[in-house]
């Protein structure tokens, strides 16, 4: 079963085999959070860096949407201290005049919020100038979800969530 996470929404699943997806991410960011011990995963479709979220779009802003996603995962039984993150999107599709691009500002805001929450980012497919679709295939407890990314007209490619990152200083 595939659950499409629309702009500003977030979804949590613990059902192995479920798929959470964001279709056609441009400057938006698909924030994947998961607790591999529990087999729980969440996907948030963040649109802008900061602001006060509404009930209909709890994940609209990075600064309030990422914590809301963590709370939703915790409510589903995940341990906040065990969460890991993967980021997809944040492209700059148009060379807009003046100022930093919204896609890059979104990524900065998501990373800053994850930093505050001490959640490591283990994989990214961000930046560039192309749109992306992300799918999170929820796995059984003990396993990381399978996260696939595709460009327009491209094929699904797996994000490697098991890269050992150099320890942050």
């Amino acid at each position: 079963m595939e659950h499409v996470v629309r702009m500003g929404e977030l979804a949590v699943s613990r059902a192995g085999g479920h798929v959470l997806s964001c279709i056609g991410l441009g400057s938006c960011i698909g924030v994947v959070l998961f607790d591999r011990g529990m087999g729980a995963a969440a996907l948030a479709h963040v649109m802008l860096p900061s602001g006060a979220a509404s009930d209909a779009t709890p994940a609209k802003y990075a600064d309030s949407g990422v914590p809301a996603t963590v709370r939703a995962l915790a409510a589903a039984g995940a341990r906040p201290t065990r969460l890991e993150a993967a980021l997809v999107g944040g492209a700059s599709m148009f060379a807009m005049a003046g100022g930093q691009e919204i896609g890059a500002r979104n990524e900065d805001a998501v990373r800053a919020t994850l930093d505050d929450l001490r959640i490591p980012v283990v994989a990214v497919a961000t930046g560039g100038s192309s749109g992306r679709t992300v799918r999170v295939h929820v796995a059984s407890p003990g396993l990381a979800p399978r996260v696939t990314v595709r460009d327009a007209g491209g094929a699904d490619e797996d994000l490697d969530l098991d890269v050992v990152l150099a320890a942050a200083a």
Binding site: R6, M7, G8, E9, I23, G24, L25, G26, S27, C28, M47, L48, G51, S54, A56, T57, A91, M93, F94, A95, M96, A97, I102, G103, S129, S130, G131, R132, T133, A152, G153
Partner: protein, 194 residues
């Protein structure tokens, strides 16, 4: 900004879109030497996520020419073509679509159509607005629309004025959207005395 519009206001905006796309259709017809039909524009004020989905399947690839507008009517004019129609349009102009010339030709079409659309509105409303240089991309429809709608003000509601131009006798159709930025819509309606 008000988040909803009255029927009278939407009618007025539809009429604006009609006049703008009529002028753009005439420009396209002159460029191609072929008659161009214009459908009745669709105008809707929707929450941004719904607005993106109202235009079409967000995963569908589209060619897009984005013409930012500056001045009294900040926003974007957006031309969207399915791949097949972009190919045909470029053939009519004698250039291959997947080339620098093809992109340049689509950008020029966007420039001419966007300028005539915007000028028609500016004249009618007595406002000062002009197009910035066009940008051409081929990507997923959802990614294109979301990026355009979120590039300006942080609005909850997007106004979409959607017209279609059909080149007669050709499988060639393009969708023509005016996406005014948040506060600009209020100004627009104020100009119309609504």
């Amino acid at each position: 900004m008000t988040s909803t519009f009255t029927d009278v206001q939407l009618d007025a905006l539809r009429e604006l879109a009609n006049i703008g796309s009529g002028t753009a259709g005439t420009a396209l017809s002159a460029m191609l030497g072929k008659p161009v039909d214009i459908n009745v524009p669709k105008v809707a004020a929707l929450p941004v996520p719904d607005a993106v989905e109202a235009v079409g399947d967000p995963s569908e690839p589209r060619w897009a020419v984005v013409v930012p507008t500056v001045g009294d009517l900040p926003g974007h004019v957006l031309l969207l073509f399915p791949q097949r129609d972009a190919v045909r349009l470029c053939e009519l102009l004698g250039v291959p679509v997947d080339s620098e010339d093809g992109r340049s030709a689509l950008g020029e079409i966007g420039n001419i159509l966007g300028t005539s659309y915007i000028n028609a509105l500016a004249q009618m409303l007595g406002i000062d607005t002009e197009p910035a240089p066009p940008m051409v991309v081929c990507d997923m429809l959802g990614a294109i629309l979301a990026s355009v709608l979120l590039s300006g003000a942080d609005a909850d509601v997007a106004l979409i004025m959607d017209s279609a131009l059909v080149v007669e006798g050709e499988a060639c159709e393009l969708s023509f959207l005016l996406l005014p930025q948040g506060a600009a819509v209020g100004d627009l309606l104020g100009r119309l005395g609504l």
